[in-house]
Symmetry: C2
Subunit: 193 residues, 2 copies
């Protein structure tokens, strides 16, 4: 086993330990000391790679996202959005990871490095995929040519973050479906054809 | 000056002191000790009314909302929404209070009492007003009869919370206007009349 391989294994072990411990004690009580101790590495080893608990936990949580939350393209844009958003919600907005993702977003409110990491490593790539999927649909006439694609991520995921972070009510598939229907319908009274 | 009046004055003083100090040191470094000291009251006096810093700061921030963020009803629902949301954004999403409101929402991610207080004292009343204004517009045919009014608050304010809490980009009037236009347009390609 070469050095690069050993380092990758160690990274994996540290992130898995962070996830295990977070499930046991919650985000607030998670500590770099406890992670180092259980992972069998020195604290310095962790701090060399992750300057803070928030950044380590961000990486750990994103490492769960194996399928990279890609959008399918079956030709039915509403069905594809529904499927992708259900997967995102199942991963990050429901137990066991939902409460920990909420805590991480909470940390991003006073820790600019965590906020930047969250955007660079997760939000922006997801936003790019969302725009690409909607642009393909717009080209085929399945999305209104008037819809401002730049706002796609805010409009589609904003109501879900509102449910996750503000009302803190359960984020079910049914809720996602209702939001999507409302966003497709729009507020304007539709002229009768 | 009777006892009730004195108590109201003291409440006012404590909340004003919490706001002043928060502007000076930020939310993270705000302490009940420092507030008590500067307000010239005992810590017990504060804790009797507010069991935590988060709840005191929530009340203090909401006390700024003198105009209660009511919706005008000029007959033009889009203009009315725009005006009310601009006022909300000016109060809670831009400096000086924006960063402190962000911190408070951050606190609500690990403090259930703050989350409940935020919903009971601010979000739910605003949601009720939003639904009432949109229901009046729906009755007049200015909002699509298909639009699910129960989702109004999530759909209208979700994209703004996304900007405030996730991307943390400036929340300008222009951004609000673009979001409103996108929500009125909807994603569905509109049939030509």
């Amino acid at each position: 086993m070469n050095a690069r391989r050993r380092s990758a294994d160690r990274t994996e072990t540290i992130m898995q330990t962070a996830l295990d411990l977070a499930l046991e004690v919650g985000y607030a009580k998670l500590s770099m000391e406890a992670i180092a101790g259980r992972a069998g590495v020195g604290k310095d080893t962790i701090y060399r790679r992750w300057p803070s608990k928030g950044l380590l936990f961000l990486d750990s949580l994103l490492s769960l996202n194996q399928r990279a939350l890609d959008y399918p393209d079956t030709g039915d844009v509403l069905a594809d959005l529904r499927q992708q958003i259900h997967a995102a919600v199942d991963l990050l907005a429901t137990p066991p990871w939902g409460p920990l993702y909420r805590a991480l977003v909470g940390e991003a409110q006073h820790n600019p490095a965590v906020a930047a990491g969250l955007n660079d490593r997760f939000i922006q790539p997801q936003a790019d995929k969302t725009v690409a999927r909607l642009r393909a649909a717009q080209t085929k006439g399945q999305v209104s040519p008037d819809f401002d694609l730049e706002l796609a991520m805010a409009v589609l995921s904003g109501p879900l973050y509102f449910q996750l972070l503000i009302t803190q009510e359960p984020l079910t598939h049914e809720y996602v479906n209702r939001i999507l229907d409302a966003l497709f319908a729009g507020l304007d009274p539709r002229p009768r054809p």
